[in-house]
Symmetry: C2
Subunit: 443 residues, 2 copies
């Protein structure tokens, strides 16, 4: 670092697959990852699935010299699994927990327990302020029939909101992580279009890694072919995205990924491939900024707004599908609960009959009575919990849909070419130097 | 609005106490609130405790002419209770859910079920961009022994983080709501010092309302004296805070509160008093901005940073107290769970003895067996749920404490007068025009 020019920045991202006692060769792989990071001395290291704080702390100890600054994002029951190591001082950290993240009863998928979130760290790189984000979205278990799609779309929506709203004063924005979305998936388009973040893989001319930039590959010994069906060779779901600002121009000099194996080691670092991106930072002078950027923006304004409206409409449809599904599930839970209650009353009535009637000529079936009672109780408890859970899901989906509708309305007004100020107030003029309809997603 | 100058902005805030069927005279009070808002035509209306979406929708219908733009923030099981009505178009909305919000088993306090959050709406007021926030923090039920204090401090911490990080591009910031904190409470100092938000009540020379700006007063018929003990007359816990930017200077022209009764009505709008603030906006030219602000900032920089460090240290202590308490509770839950498990094994052993031994000479106490079994099961279920809950609480408190430690470190470095760039890189220079140690909490 000390010998390298400040205008070059190396960023590393890896999903560590760090489930203690369950992930294969976990301690050995952490040792390998630590060695790699010590040796490579990237400026910024973004890790996902560091589920155990102990593993984070041992990495922190190992990287004390190469990466003196670090932050571990705590959340949920198990944690967010997100960690950042940096050569540059971290001044501030902030965490946003996604409102939706799968279902607690899908314990074998386990996403719900992870408390998925997006972590932000503010770094000063020389004289520039970098907002660095690390995240991990809900996994896709079956591409053909992906019941988690609405959740992932809402996560992508909240991710772009969080980045857009918190990067106001940033000179550069960097996002790394396992998005669990293919390059052209809805959530990915939503994220990239809204935030104007650029994809390292697409932006660089110098790429060294797996075919098509894939990060979950069939050649990785920890991957079962089932996970990537119907894709034979693999999929690209991990990313390093970036953007500059009016003060800094960023280009991606080169990018590389690991290729399913590590020289001199019997297994790779993780079930995901590791990404390394080299960014080149060119500070802009004030004069370059204004005219240059504005012309570019106006050129593509209408087209970009129209594209955003289309993507948002698609996202709203997906969220509505999820909403419909959640409402149906809540209805089913309610109906089952009512049936459980009816069964309980019936049982009590049956129990009351011989007690009210004269004798104990026939023995009362005590064991069946208790068993049935326990069953009714279990049904009522489960359906109540499910009802509460689905109500929260419905609320979150509705909330996201409301926000998307608001955004579509605002974009459509831009598209119609109306000035942004309220039409009723004729004395108001549009912002200086801004043509009506000029696109600025920050606005 | 149409007749008023654009540089004047009227903001209204009220905790509506809108619990359907439980709050006294709820429908009548909503009708009164609707009438007031229609008549007064404030630019921005910030409401809290609008627990029912139906009530929001009926208000929306009533205010369709006076306040054509509105947003209702959905969250949690019941909702966040937050709503915003505006004469100016709302372009974007974003919600942040606090990580801590009381305990689910404190059902009679009910805060946990509310899904407390802070809502943000982005409005264009003429050519200016306003970021408007509405929130409602956890209630204080007993000032002498406030077990929710760590939760409220963490909420205040997250609130200031959210406002600070999302208001980067704003020309003005307005926050209204029921903070459930007295003016000099730790959380309030944390919020105001970190965000530089100014308090309408303290800033105005023209105040009309209850003594000392109180918003929860003994004279309000919905208030029981117990709620405000040990304060006889009342307390100030609702606020409208604001700040301008380098582009807009804001002053508070006047402020008023209701006084516990409404003329021609038998009862007030709510158990809280309503707040109205009139803000005066003066757009600044670029030349005014730079030199003026910078001199002021540098003057008070060191003092302000030192004050912030003190407040943060106090907040960390409070969070650590909460952490200690949560860890103790988790330990108690674990111990009780283990005892429940031991009891279950003991019971099974007792049951096995007569079964293994020869005869049924003594009748097996079946009813007691089932009852004890049910008790063990209930203990195990409850302690498991509590363990999960306390683990999440511990994680959130630790997370907040980590972030606070990071912030203190960063502030102390400023205080020592070191340049912000990393000391190892001697070629780096401090940002242009910024003296080392100059205070900018956004940085």
């Amino acid at each position: 670092m000390a010998n390298r020019d400040i205008v070059s920045l190396r960023v590393f991202s890896l999903n560590c697959w760090g489930i203690r006692y369950l992930s294969k060769h976990c301690p050995q792989r952490y040792a390998m990852i630590g060695d790699l990071l010590c040796k490579e001395q990237h400026d910024i290291v973004l890790l996902q699935e560091v589920w155990s704080e102990k593993d984070y702390l041992s990495l922190k100890k190992k990287l004390a010299c190469s990466h003196p600054h670090s932050h571990y994002f705590k959340s949920g029951v198990i944690g967010s699994g997100l960690a950042i190591f940096s050569q540059h001082r971290i001044h501030d950290a902030f965490l946003y927990r996604y409102s939706l993240n799968g279902y607690p009863y899908m314990a074998h998928h386990g996403d719900w327990f992870g408390g998925k979130a997006v972590g932000m760290a503010i770094l000063n790189i020389g004289t520039m302020k970098a907002h660095v984000y690390v995240t991990h979205l809900h996994a896709e278990y079956c591409r053909e029939k992906d019941s988690y799609l609405p959740h992932r779309v809402v996560q992508a929506w909240e991710l772009q909101q969080f980045i857009r709203h918190t990067s106001g004063g940033a000179d550069m924005v960097i996002l790394g992580g396992d998005l669990n979305m293919h390059p052209q998936d809805l959530g990915n388009r939503l994220l990239r279009s809204y935030t104007s973040l650029r994809d390292s893989y697409s932006e660089t001319a110098k790429f060294d890694g797996c075919e098509d930039g894939m990060t979950l590959i069939a050649d990785n010994p920890f991957i079962s072919k089932k996970e990537i069906v119907p894709f034979e060779k693999g999929i690209r779901i991990d990313y390093i995205l970036f953007k500059g600002s009016s003060k800094v121009d960023i280009r991606c000099e080169s990018m590389s990924t690991t290729k399913g194996s590590v020289p001199d080691h019997p297994f790779p670092y993780s079930d995901h491939e590791a990404l390394t991106t080299e960014l080149r930072l060119d500070p802009l002078t004030q004069t370059e900024t204004g005219s240059d950027k504005q012309t570019k923006e106006q050129d593509c304004a209408a087209g970009k707004v129209a594209e955003l409206v289309d993507i948002l409409t698609e996202a709203r449809t997906e969220v509505k599908v999820g909403l419909h599904c959640a409402e149906r599930m809540r209805y089913t839970a309610t109906r089952t609960g009512v049936m459980g209650l009816a069964l309980l009353f019936l049982e009590l009535a049956i129990a009351a009959v011989p007690w009210l009637a004269l004798g104990a000529e026939q023995p009362f079936p005590r064991a069946s009575f208790y068993l049935l009672g326990a069953l009714c109780f279990a049904i009522l408890l489960t359906t109540t919990l499910l009802y509460i859970f689905y109500t929260m899901e419905v609320k979150s989906l509705q909330g996201a849909e409301d926000q998307m509708r608001l955004a579509v309305g605002s974009l459509q007004e831009k598209l119609r070419g109306f000035p942004l100020a309220q039409p009723r107030n004729n004395q108001r003029r549009p912002p200086e130097g801004q043509e009506p309809g000029a696109f600025d997603p920050e606005e």
